[in-house]
Amino acid sequence: MPEGTKVSPVEALPEASREYGAIGEVSEEPRWGMAIDVERCIGCWSCAVICKSENDVPLGMWWNRILTEGEDLDTPHRGEFGSLEMSWVPLACQHCDDPPCMKVCPTSATFVDVEHGRLVSVNQEDCIGCRYCMAACPYGVRVFNWGEPEYPVEDFDLGMVEPRPIGSVEKCTMCVHRLIEGQVPSCVWSCPAQARIFGDLNDPDGELVRVIEERGGRQLLEEKGTRPKVYYLQERRRRPL
């Protein structure tokens, strides 16, 4: 193993891998967004696990998790024999264009980062842990760092970002640390079902806008007026025998 010199993990990637994760062409003022294909989601939690790994999220906390519609994790279903259904909704920060969490933050720790694709970001060091934002968020995607974080591996740092201070609110950053290095968020990279499409909502010619239009992407709790930048592509129509 080489000693001493450290490099950016993006620089260290094999070329083919770096190409796989590269953010394609974007507009002059990108507005980062995502589409999640509910048809393709198989509820495997790979996106959630890589999020936990990438962002060094402690035990007991998930920035990204998979809601199972129905009663249970392994056999999530509705209905009775003949009409059983199951489906999953991957859920993390929706990066709203009109974020209710920001409006209630007394210290402006939460802000819309206009320089970085209008992501909803948290200045962790300005967070005073009042958790108004958690109450205000209709999606329930913010988590609070109550105490000394616990990790499955104790004696060294996992992941690619610094852990957050105790007593602050955390959430999905859209892997902005990766975006600034030209790479897609880790959940997009790691979805084995290829259910996540990342891109620029301001680019009318981009794949993201095209797929949202073609597949009729929907926003969660659209009626709340939060204007999420995450869209959900609906399931296909079935052709039963």
Binding site: M1, K6, P9, A48, S53, H77, L84, L158
Partner: protein, 842 residues
């Protein structure tokens, strides 16, 4: 930590101070935030490309991100030259570093101090542990014969070098090597019986080329996660997806139609489908004539096929050829053995009954092989098939019409259908559908069984079997059951039985069938050695535990049935603690046992030399590794020299090359005997098939019905794979445990629960005559009535009581699987799901 952490405050110097001024709801506040630059990723030492390969068949390229000599993140490499295969890799592989550094990791050799299973060990030096193991192996070898040592490593296909080291050591010392593919129940015996091969499946990307996917007894959305998207790709291309499963699975939830069967009744169901295809004339007659034994005449008196010598007189040229009935000349005609197809100008009959005058003047009534199939399927009306299987007769009709007309159509079969005592009959019945409709050898079609990472895709012989010395290879089920009366004489059961068990990367004492019998056998062992990176249930029972390197700490060569890329495992970190590889361990043991043998076969051998040896052996025009070098593999995955897409039986169907193609590492002569006709065999003429009435695919009730009275044990116990584990690997993963809750639950139907006074969440006992366990009830409509479902692989520590589902499973051997003996190819395949039980409140 790199010690150069840049704080947000530093980054914000001069710009960020205004951030505290909140103007709620106003856009102007945003501008104030300009300048709060996000921090880029933390730096790393390097990123190492390797391959994740537990026993899942994924073989997913992974990147290990290394900081300060430790893996801080694992993420898919996503670097496949064929981009449809990227990214590959699931939540389990992404969290493997938690095992590399987890609390169950073994870092030093351990020697048992308390009774077996007590978990009492003392740490030892390698020197002491190796001396001890070598001396014991030598004592046992010299006392009882080296063949009384049973070496067992899981899935050699996932590591040709190190799992190959087991074979090499067994070969040069004469130890018995066990088997995993058949012992794991994954060997689909329908394949050697019908197609003469160990197994042969379409590469996963070919699913997307199908117009119709019939997924039976398989749940690829949970158990083939990296390849699941190909099913969606097929659907997006307009394919219909039909899932046949007793349980409402994730895969069933995404299907166009889900068909619930009673477990173990697939053959009746498939024969009902075949009935409709035949009745409606939707079968492919030309295919049956050209590629199958369908037209070959069977002597009505003996049940054996007629040979040309019997008809034209012994001594005639080509006497060994088989015979068809030519409808033009109304007489028998021989067909060549060295080429498929139909002889020029001949119109072979597929059905009917014909009087043939033999060379000795005798007259016999003969029927084409397919006429026997016809008689069987004609008896399986949709109503009869429905009565046995529980499927709706109307669905059987509609499935048959759609499957036979929406082409190409693929059948994807999994363990749910294969893991039965009569799994061969089930597989033969499904294979019949693919054969009848000509869906063989065509992209988008096929009958593919995806269970087990069995596939040897390179020429391993020079590494595994040096100087062509092969170890005795015995199906491990015989270690459990002892030699059966019907055991094929070619199976090398040791003269003095087994006295030692040497396990590498195997949770054998949790994951073997019929555990209580396994533990009886274990008590007969004078030495139990476990080589494993983790303190598994099995390691707890060892006399000596040797700490193994994981696949992030060594070099190996891997491939899988699911995709055709050859890949390296490359060390990302130094071995954790004092862990060593199998090759290092065997080399040290052999050196101690027999220095001369060591000098000849192990001295100087490295992972690299082994890989070069195997690559070179297949590096010839048309060879699997033609032109592939170790240096190529270091740069990334390399597609093996196979057709694109990799579709089995293409040469047979397109170029009329006789069946079977070779099944590595066996020589063709070993597997050719399975198919004397050199054609797809729908009819079997060997005595045991005739005695048992299994000449053609038929339905038989599950075996355990004869062991456990259904009145006393009314539930079938199903033990499918869980998406949260690869068998028992990842069973102790803390991230995954947060998701699934860490509580083994037995899925039962509300009607069965009510009848037993059981409510969801109750503590329950699951039991039969072989064993019992205590866990929690999960009552749900997703279960099929009359079943109890407990995914296999839970570590014992999670149960209320008992070791897990294999306390109850069966190790019974089907004598059909003993007609021939080629380990892992024609050998007893375990029927995990063929198991009855009862459930009560604990």
């Amino acid at each position: 930590m790199d010690g150069k952490r840049i704080t947000r405050r530093e980054l914000l110097a001069g710009a960020g101070a205004a951030a505290g001024v909140a103007v709620v709801g106003s856009a102007t506040v945003f501008a104030d935030e300009v300048g709060k630059e996000p921090v880029p990723s933390k730096l790393v030492d390097e990123v190492v490309r390797t391959t994740c390969s537990p026993n899942c068949t994924g073989s997913c390229g992974q990147l290990a991100f290394v900081r300060d000599g430790r893996i801080v993140k694992i993420q898919q490499a996503a670097d496949y030259p064929d981009p449809v295969y990227s990214p590959r890799g699931c939540m389990k592989g992404l969290s493997f570093h938690l095992h590399i550094y987890g609390p169950d990791r073994i870092t030093r050799p351990l020697i048992r101090t308390g009774p077996r299973g007590s978990g009492e060990f003392r740490e030892a030096t390698w020197e002491e542990a190796l001396d001890h193991v070598a001396a014991e192996l030598k004592r046992i070898g010299e006392t009882y014969g080296y063949d009384s040592i049973h070496v067992f490593g899981q899935v050699p296909g996932s590591g040709y070098v190190h799992k190959g080291a087991n074979y090499r050591a067994a070969a040069v010392l004469g130890m018995t090597h066990g088997t995993s593919f058949d012992f794991n129940g994954d060997l689909p015996m329908a394949m050697p019986i019908t197609f003469g091969v160990q197994n042969a499946e379409h590469e996963a990307k070919d699913w997307a080329n199908s117009r119709f996917l019939l997924i039976v007894g398989a749940n690829p959305l949970e158990t083939r996660i990296p390849d699941a998207h190909f099913i969606f790709d097929a659907a997006a291309n307009g394919a219909r997806v039909v899932v046949v499963d007793p349980v409402f699975s994730a895969t069933a939830s995404k299907a166009d139609t889900w068909i619930r069967l009673r477990p173990g009744t697939d053959a009746a169901f498939a024969l009902g489908v075949a009935h409709v295809i035949w009745r409606e004339g939707l079968h492919d007659e030309a295919f049956l004539r050209a590629y199958t034994d369908g037209p070959l005449l069977v002597n009505g008196r003996t049940g054996k096929r007629l040979r040309w010598g019997e008809v034209a007189g012994e001594g005639v040229e080509g006497a060994e050829r088989f015979v068809v009935w030519d409808q033009r000349t109304e007489g028998p005609v021989p067909v060549p053995l060295d080429r498929l197809g139909v002889p020029e100008g001949v119109e072979p009959a597929l059905t009917g009954s014909f009087e043939v005058v033999l060379g000795n003047g005798a007259r016999v009534v003969a029927r084409p092989g397919f006429d026997h199939v016809r008689a069987e399927i004609e008896s399986w009306t949709p109503e009869r098939a429905a009565e046995v299987s529980g499927a709706d007769p109307g669905i059987i009709e509609r499935l048959a019409l759609a499957y036979a007309s929406e082409k190409p159509a693929a059948i994807l079969m999994g363990g749910g259908s294969n893991h039965w005592y009569h799994g061969d009959l089930i597989g033969r019945a499904y294979a019949l559908l693919a054969v009848m409709t000509g869906n063989i050898g065509r992209s988008g079609g096929g009958f593919s069984v995806y269970v087990g990472q069995y596939k040897v895709r390179v020429f391993t012989q020079p590494w595994w079997y040096p100087d062509e010395i092969k170890p005795p290879i015995l199906s491990t089920i015989y270690w459990v059951e002892g030699p059966t009366e019907t055991m094929n004489p070619a199976a090398p059961y040791p003269e003095n039985g087994f006295k030692a068990l040497f396990l590498t990367f195997s949770n054998f004492l949790l994951q073997s069938p019929n555990l209580n019998k396994v533990f009886e056998r274990l008590a007969e062992m004078e030495l139990v050695v476990v080589v494993d990176p983790q303190m598994t249930e099995t390691a707890r029972w060892a006399d000596v535990v040797l700490p193994a390197t994981t696949w992030y700490e060594k070099t190996d060569l891997t491939a899988t049935p699911l995709h055709p890329f050859l890949q390296l495992q490359q060390p990302a970190i130094e071995p954790v603690g004092e862990a060593r590889s199998e090759l290092e361990i065997w080399s040290e043991l052999v050196r101690r046992i027999d220095p001369d043998t060591w000098r000849r076969y192990f001295e100087g051998e490295t992972e690299e030399s082994a890989i070069r040896m195997m690559l070179a052996a297949g590096d010839f025009p048309g060879g699997p590794t033609e032109g592939i070098t170790l240096e190529d593999l270091r740069r990334g995955p390399v597609r093996l020299r196979v057709p694109d897409p990799d579709v089995p039986f293409k040469a047979q169907v397109e170029d009329l090359v006789p069946f079977p193609p070779v099944s590595l590492p066996a020589p063709i002569e070993a597997t050719q005997v399975f198919l004397p006709t050199r054609r797809i065999e729908l009819y079997k003429e060997e005595d045991r098939f005739l005695e048992l009435g299994e000449q053609v695919a038929t339905h038989k009730d599950p075996y355990d019905d004869g062991v456990h009275d259904p009145a006393e044990y009314p539930l079938r116990l199903l033990s499918p794979h869980s998406k949260w584990r690869i068998h028992s690997t990842y069973g102790n993963n803390p991230w995954l445990e947060e998701i699934h809750g860490g509580r083994p639950r037995v899925l039962i139907h509300p009607a069965d629960a009510v009848a037993r006074g059981i409510e969801d969440g109750d503590e329950i006992e699951v039991f039969n005559s072989r064993g019992s366990l205590k866990a929690w009830a999960h009552v749900s409509e997703a279960a099929a009535p009359g079943t109890a479902t407990l995914p296999e692989g839970w570590w014992s520590r999670y149960f209320l009581e008992g070791k897990g589902v294999n306390e109850l499973t069966s190790s019974a051997i089907n004598p059909i699987h003993e007609v021939w003996y080629v380990p892992n190819m024609w050998a007893p395949s375990t029927g995990w799901k063929d198991c009855r039980c009862e459930v009560r409140r604990a």
